[in-house]
């Protein structure tokens, strides 16, 4: 077992709803990011009952935070219930900061660790308001773990300055009192310490925010959607932002209308997007077929949740991979990509718009509840150098021959060649010239019927074959463009490989990095795109590998099956479907076992 990397600290605040748990956590996260620390948060819903417990967790360190780690290092419990419900997640040497009588008969005993009692409620009242309990806690955290108090006070001014000077004063006093109490009453008996920031201010976004932000940056100016947890925040963000950039947002009457509106918008050349979760994706399946058939690009974000049906709407699962890739009647090409963390949500969304515009194809972005809801720091995107694809529409030819020569085949019997726009012209790439409504002489009728190069409905076998091939060719172009985008870390000669997708890929990276530091011979393989799979590169990297570990958050191994069937690999699937993400420590043993050839394939 590798030694714990003490530069990373995982802290959880727990208390009653209304005690300011969330706002304290968010403030700490904001300040950490502004000081240039790397930080990622995790939001959990302990139960449905409103009010109830509130919990906020964050993990910070000197480099990109890949997962929430294995254990809690610090628990800040505003009351007994906060302790009782969370202590099981803490390491034995963890640090507890609490506001309940230390003599209490604790139902869950700790094996070791350090406790600091801070009378948060009492000090808050001293500062001038019982509501400042959370600020007392933050003051204590600064003093105990070396979090820069100046950053925090500045954060308080920024956050409450607009409200009133009085609120700022009370909060600052509370922070002072918390810090002072620790200084005067406690000797520091632990070694945990926040690592310093690098001074490069970072922005804090949730995965959902990052998707919406990325969409705007990529030129999305139309959004239609229907509320569904955990995707709704994307729509809420765009409801605020799109009107300010002459974009339009409609909350449709359901998911079927949402995707239909997007297809309509895309038909006019507008970059459009909708976002939903599993049940909504299921409803959108029919219209996705039309988008594929009529070759209309759009971006569809699926923030997956635990299903099926209403399932566990606020819990994590990676259960929609099959639906995203294969959920079609007949052959309906779509591209599927899955961001791994918040920063990736931004760039993969931009990427999705680029693919949709360039290849005139629907693109599904598979996010997931734990990613959509949790916030993390990321460098401010460099908009100047952002790679945004702008589509070139067809142009009216100027010399004699009206349109590019179409294939003999197309001009079949009963289909006299007329000088109409060959919207679905077949060529090497399968990407045909596109016009949008309002371009004289280039009218065409988009249709869900099988059609020929002139978009005319046509059912004869040679045409069907030709058009299927054309759409497949386009799909193969995507594979070619993204075919090499497989990231490999670790030992290239290893007999053991590990792979996964989406958020699980980030946790795998965490586990593998630790294993590599311990000298293990293993490699991790991460395809950037899940459909079309980058087959050449995957085959190359899997060559010589004896055992492959596939980790994913579902109960049937949807991705594992793809790896098994496409590459004939010896796969051991590590599956988890309990509504919560993997911890790296749950993956490590499988790497070790695979190296010792102890896993069942």
């Amino acid at each position: 077992m590798s030694k714990r990397d003490t530069r990373y600290v995982c802290l959880r605040i727990a208390g009653e709803g209304g005690e300011g748990v969330i706002s304290a956590g968010e403030l700490l996260t904001q300040v950490a990011a502004r000081l240039g620390m790397h930080v990622a948060t995790f939001k959990t819903f302990p139960s449905e009952i409103r009010g109830g417990m509130a919990v906020y967790q964050l993990r910070t360190g000197p480099d990109r935070v890949l997962s929430q780690g294995d254990y809690l290092d610090i628990l800040v419990a505003f009351n007994r219930e906060g302790y009782d419900r969370n202590i099981a997640d803490m390491t034995s040497e963890g640090v507890l900061v609490h506001d309940f009588e230390p003599g209490d008969n604790l139902p869950v005993k700790r094996r070791g660790g350090v406790d600091y009692h801070v009378p948060m409620g009492k000090l808050a009242r001293e500062a001038g308001s019982h509501r400042a309990k959370n600020m007392v806690a933050l003051g204590a955290i600064c003093e105990l773990f070396g979090f820069p108090v100046e950053g925090l006070t500045e954060g308080v001014r920024l956050k409450f300055g607009k409200k009133s000077e009085k609120v700022v004063e009370v909060n600052l006093k509370a922070i002072d009192l918390g810090a002072e109490y620790v200084r005067e009453n406690h000797e520091i008996r632990h070694e945990l310490h926040f690592s310093e920031g690098d001074g490069h201010a970072r922005v804090v976004l949730s995965g959902n925010d990052a998707v919406a932000f990325g969409a705007v940056a990529a030129g999305c100016r139309f959004y239609a959607g229907y509320p569904i947890t955990p995707a709704t925040e994307i729509m809420e963000y765009l409801a605020r932002e799109l009107p300010r950039v002459s974009g339009r947002m409609v909350q449709a009457e359901d998911e079927i209308a949402s995707i239909a509106m997007c297809i309509g918008a895309s038909f006019t050349g507008q970059k459009s997007m909708t976002a939903t979760s599993g049940p909504g994706l299921a409803l959108m399946s029919e219209a996705l077929g039309l988008a594929s058939m009529a070759e209309v690009g759009l971006v569809l974000v699926d923030v997956q949740r635990a299903g099926p049906s209403t399932g566990m709407p606020t819990k994590a699962e990676q259960g929609d991979l099959n639906l995203a890739i294969y959920g079609a009647h007949s052959t309906a090409h779509r591209v599927v990509i899955a961001p791994v963390d918040v920063e990736d949500c931004f760039y993969q969304t931009v990427n999705a718009f680029n693919i949709a515009a360039k290849y005139q194809i629907p693109v599904i972005v598979l996010s997931e509840q734990s990613l959509g809801f949790s916030k993390a720091s990321m460098p401010r995107p460099d908009f100047e150098n952002l790679d945004v694809f702008e589509e070139q529409y067809a142009r009216m030819p100027t010399d004699g021959d009206p349109w590019p020569k179409v294939d003999e085949l197309t001009v079949g019997e009963g289909y006299p060649m007329t000088p109409v726009f060959p919207r679905y012209l077949r060529n090497d790439t399968g990407i045909s010239p596109r016009s949008i409504p309002g371009m004289p002489g280039m009218e065409f009728r988009a249709t869900g019927l099988e059609h020929d190069e002139f978009a005319r409905p046509r059912y004869d076998p040679p045409n069907r074959k030709a058009m299927l091939n054309k759409r497949q060719a386009k799909f193969e172009e995507v594979r070619r463009e993204y075919g090499e985008q497989v990231e490999v870390i670790g030992d290239d000669e290893a007999e053991v490989a590990i792979t996964g997708w989406g958020t699980t890929a980030a946790v795998i990276r965490h586990a593998v990095t630790r294993a590599l530091n311990d000298g293990a011979s293993v490699k991790a393989i991460f395809p950037k795109i899940l459909s079309p799979m980058p087959d050449m590169a995957m085959r190359h990297h899997l060559h010589g590998v004896k055992r492959v570990i596939c980790c994913e958050l579902n109960d049937t191994g949807q991705y594992a099956n793809i790896i098994r069937h496409r590459y004939g690999a010896n796969v051991h699937a590590v599956l988890k479907d309990r509504g919560v993400p993997f911890a790296p420590g749950e993956i490590t043993p499988y790497i070790e076992m695979a190296i010792k050839a102890q896993v069942r394939i």
Partner: protein, 302 residues
């Protein structure tokens, strides 16, 4: 992160029996609804109406969609089906057509019934399926965190209309009547006695009966529009609901925080789906038409 079970927090013993113990699934209490939410009142009113209607509770079923209101089916101790979002009415239609002996009640939210489920709503009313539909209208999609609904008055603020709603809302009573409902009424969570009476009439009425209940969503609709608590909304209903039984439904549209009309609006006779089906089938098939026999525990009633 570990997801081991947490130690349950000891709850203080309270031995007073709940007054509705026989009608509620007490193992599901406390319910998930927020303090001063109107939904609890709707449950109580419905139970009272069921008692008054004298239907055999064993031959009743409650069907709901998804939403805060959708959870009603989970708390009433009757055969119930918590279905998918928007589709309560088609599921209920399946129940009713396969076992006509059942009294089927749909309880769902405004968004569920008239947004995603709007198509089903209008068609069930057109068919005049024998269903009682109770729509809790809180003017918002509550369960998902307060988005605009097809019922949101203008210019209310919701999470997806941060600059104020501007799409005209449905007048649900008028919609139901236009599509063919035989009974249409609207009350609020404040008008409990009249609501119970109205629900009772709706239950007894053959055909598609529709009761709209205006109810406070304290956490989202009230808070976001700075209208106070659920209690403040109840006071608002008290001061602003104008009782007008028999009022023509085109006149009962609702404006944001303006006086609005409540009452029993429509009560008319119209052959139900079953009536028309039986008549048509008998006319064309004669003796060859075989009426539906429900499960053996229920006697056929078609």
């Amino acid at each position: 992160m570990s997801d081991t079970a947490v130690t349950p927090v000891p709850v203080k013993e309270d031995t007073t029996p709940h007054p509705m113990e026989d009608w509620l699934r007490m193992d599901r209490i406390p319910h998930i609804w927020c303090p001063t939410c109107g939904l609890g009142i709707v449950v109580t009113a419905l139970v009272e109406a069921i008692k008054k209607s004298a239907f055999d509770p064993d031959l009743m079923a409650v069907v709901s969609g998804i939403g805060c209101t959708g959870r009603v089916a989970g708390y009433i101790k009757l055969d119930s089906f918590h279905t998918t979002h928007g589709r309560a009415i088609p599921f209920a239609t399946g129940l009713k057509l396969s076992n006509p002996k059942l009294k089927v009640v749909v309880v769902s939210g405004d968004g569920d019934l008239t947004g995603i489920g709007g198509n089903h709503f209008i068609h069930a009313a057109r068919r005049n399926i024998d269903l009682t539909v109770i729509c809790v209208n809180n003017f918002i999609y509550a369960m998902t965190g307060g988005q605009v609904a097809p019922t949101t008055p203008n210019p209310a603020v919701t999470s997806t209309t941060p600059y104020g709603a501007f799409e005209p809302p449905f007048n649900l009573a008028n919609l139901a009547e236009a599509c063919g409902a035989t009974y249409v009424s609207r009350w609020t969570a404040l008008h409990v006695r009249r609501l119970v009476e109205s629900m009772t009439r709706a239950l007894m009425k053959p055909g598609f009966s529709f009761v709209e209940v205006i109810a406070p969503c304290s956490t989202l609709y009230a808070r976001r529009n700075r209208l106070g608590s659920g209690l403040d909304l109840m006071k608002f209903y008290h001061d602003n609901a104008i009782i007008k039984n028999g009022c023509p439904t085109p006149e009962v549209g609702i404006d944001f925080q303006k006086p609005f009309v409540v009452g029993d609006f429509v009560d008319k006779e119209r052959p139900t789906w079953h009536d028309r089906m039986r008549a048509q089938m008998t006319a064309t098939l004669g003796e060859k038409f075989i009426p539906k026999v429900g499960p053996s525990i229920c006697t056929n009633c078609e």
